[in-house]
C-alpha cells in the first residue's frame, strides 16, 4: 500500500513578464501516495495553484511560461509527455477541481452532458451509457433526484451543487490522483462539510490520492494526512498532520498557527508582521527573513528543505543549527 502515485522533484515555474521574471514556484519537492491526502497550505500568491496546474501541464504552453524539474506520475515523467498523451491522462488518471464552482462549469451546456463528456472522451463510450454514468456520478456526490437535475444548466444549481458536480466530473473516470485547488473556499461551512466528507469517503473507498490545496488550517487538520506549507514559491515545512500542529518548526508555520483566534481566548492575536514578498523582486536568501522575528545573518542565504526526522522536513537555518 505504500506505492507513490506522484512524485514532484525540484519543480520550477517561472513567468517572464514585462516587469521581470516571476518565480511563482521555485524548486518544490513532494510526493503523494495512494490513498493519501496531502495538504498544501500557504498564503495567497504563494504558488499553490501554479504548482497544481503545472502537474496537470495546464501551464507551460505559452512562450512566457517556463517549467523545469520532474513530475513523476506512476513512474513516468509528465514533463516529457506529448500534449496528446497528456490530454489522455487529464480527467482520466489525474483530475482536478478548481476553486470557483461558479465559473468552473460551462454555462452553455447541461450539467449532465458536461459530466458525460468524460467517459465519452476517455473511454469512447456512446452517448447513452455516458449519460447514465453522469447520472450515477451526480447521485454519488449527493445530488438529489439526479436523473432530472442532470438536465439542468449550471445556473440552475446552487454553489454547493455546482461544486459537487465539478467533483462528480473529476471522479467520473476513477482517477488515481485528484488535485483539489481550494474546492470549498467559495462555499458555506455547512456545504463545505458535505464536500469534505465526500472527499474523505473517496479516499477511503477508492484509495484515490488527493492533493488538497487550501489556506484554511481547519480543513487541513480535519481531513489531511500530511501537509506542505508553501511560502513565496517554496515549501518551507512538510510534516504529517499531527506532528505539524503539535510541533511546528518553521517560524512562518508557527506564525500562521499563532495568528488564528482560539476558541474562548480573547487575548491579543499575534499576527505575522509585514506583507508577503512581491514575487517580482524576491529577497535574496530566505524569503521569510524580512518578516521573521528570528532572522539573523545566515538568513541571507537560502536554506534547504532538510529532514529533521523521517517525516518532518523544514527549510530554516534555525533548525539547521539545532
Amino acid at each position: 500500500m505504500n506505492d507513490v502515485v506522484l512524485k514532484v522533484k525540484d519543480l520550477k515555474c517561472h513567468f517572464h513578464t514585462r516587469k521581470g521574471i516571476v518565480k511563482a514556484v521555485d524548486g518544490v519537492n513532494f510526493e503523494v501516495k495512494k490513498g493519501e491526502i496531502l495538504a498544501i497550505v500557504g498564503e495567497s500568491g504563494s504558488g499553490k495553484s501554479v504548482t497544481s496546474q503545472a502537474i496537470m501541464r495546464l501551464i507551460g504552453q505559452k512562450n512566457n511560461e517556463r517549467i523545469e524539474g520532474k513530475i513523476f506520475f506512476r513512474g513516468e515523467n509528465l514533463l516529457e509527455k506529448s500534449e496528446e498523451e497528456m490530454r489522455r491522462l487529464r480527467g482520466n488518471r489525474i483530475s482536478m477541481i478548481f476553486q470557483d464552482p461558479m465559473t468552473s462549469l460551462n454555462p452553455a451546456y447541461r450539467v449532465g452532458s458536461q459530466i458525460a463528456e468524460v467517459p465519452q472522451i476517455h473511454e469512447k463510450k456512446d452517448k447513452k451509457s455516458s449519460w447514465s454514468i453522469a447520472i450515477d456520478m451526480l447521485h454519488r456526490v449527493g445530488i438529489p433526484s439526479s436523473e432530472e437535475r442532470a438536465n439542468d444548466y449550471p445556473h440552475q444549481f446552487s454553489g454547493g451543487m455546482r461544486q459537487r458536480s465539478v467533483i462528480a466530473m473529476a471522479l467520473a473516470s476513477n482517477p488515481d490522483l485528484l488535485i483539489a485547488d481550494e474546492p470549498t473556499t467559495a462555499l458555506d461551512v455547512t456545504i463545505q462539510a458535505q464536500i469534505l466528507d465526500l472527499m474523505n469517503d473517496l479516499r477511503n473507498q477508492m484509495g484515490t490520492a488527493i492533493i488538497m490545496i487550501t489556506h484554511d488550517l481547519g480543513i487541513v487538520a480535519e481531513l489531511c494526512d500530511s501537509v506542505a506549507v508553501m511560502y513565496a514559491g517554496r515549501i518551507v515545512e512538510q510534516a504529517p498532520i499531527k506532528e505539524l500542529f503539535a510541533s511546528p518548526k518553521h517560524p512562518y508555520t508557527r506564525g500562521l498557527l499563532a495568528s488564528l483566534p482560539k476558541p474562548g481566548i480573547r487575548e491579543r492575536l499575534t499576527p505575522i508582521e509585514g506583507q508577503p514578498p512581491n514575487l517580482h523582486d524576491v529577497p535574496k536568501g530566505c524569503m521569510f527573513a524580512p518578516r521573521c522575528p528570528h532572522a539573523h545573518e545566515k538568513c541571507s542565504e537560502q536554506p534547504m528543505l532538510n529532514n529533521i526526522n523521517e517525516h518532518h522536513k523544514v527549510a530554516c537555518w534555525l533548525e539547521e543549527e539545532m
Binding site: F15, H16, T17, R18, K19, V22, N63, N64
Partner: protein
Amino acid sequence: MKEFWYRFYKNKLAFSGLIIMVVYAILALLAPLIAPYGPLEMHPDQMLSAPNSEHIFGTDQFGRDIFSRIIYGTQISLKVGTISVGISLILGVTMGVVAAYYGKWVDSLVSRTTDVLFSFPDILLALALMAVLGTSLTNVMIAIGIVYTPIFARLTRGSVLSIKNSLYVEAARSIGVSNLQIVLRHILPNVMAPIIVQATLSFALAILTEAALSFLGLGVEPDTPSWGIMLNEGKDFMETAWWIAVFPGLAITLAVLSLNVMGDGMRDALDPHLKDEVM
C-alpha cells in the same frame, strides 16, 4: 494613468496610430504653411495631371492640387470628427448617466428613445437629418452627432449601471456624498475608459459618414476640400485619373485606421486582464 500611458506607449501599433493622428492635427493647424497651393486654386492648363514634381499627388479636374486639398481636407475631417463626436459624447453621456442613475421611468424613456434612434441605420438617419437641416458643414456635424448619440447613451448607461452598485459608490453614499458629486467624482471617471475608446471609433465612423453623405450629394458645401467630396469627385476618374480618388481614399483609410488602432490600444491598455502578460 501613468500605467496606462506606459502600456499604451508600449503598444507600437496603437502608438503609431496616435502619432499619425498628431501629424494629421499638425497638418490641419498648419495647412496654409504646408500646402503648396490654395485648396481652391485652379490651374486650368494642368487639369488631371498625374503626380509630378509640381503636384506630388497630381491635380484634379480643375487643375487643383490634390496634395494641398488633402491637407486642407484634414481640417474639415478633424473638425467633423471632433465636433460631431463632441456632440454625441455630451448628449449621449448625459442621457446615459441620467437614465442609469435615476432609473425607473426616466430610464425607460431614455432607453426606448435610444432604441428608436438606434433602429434607424446610420446613413439613412443622417441622410434624413441632412434633408431636414439642409446641406452645410455645421449641419453635417449636427446630423452625425445626433446619429451617434445612442451608442454613447447605451454604453454610458451600461457602465454606469455596473458601477452604480459598486462598493466604492456605496461607500461614498454611506459617507453622505451628494448624488451629483457621486456622478462627477466616482462614476464618470470610471466609465470614461470605454467611452473614450468608443469616441475614437466613432470619430472614425464620423469621417466615413461625412464621406458617404458627400457621396450622396448631401454633405458639405461643394468646393470645401473635404476628403469625402474629393473621393466622390474622383470616383468617376478612377480609371483615367486614379490619383484623384486614391489619395483622399488613402487619407481617410489611414485616419480611420489610426483611430481604430488607437482605440484598440487604449482598450488593451485599460484592460486589467492583460496587465502581466508579455508583449
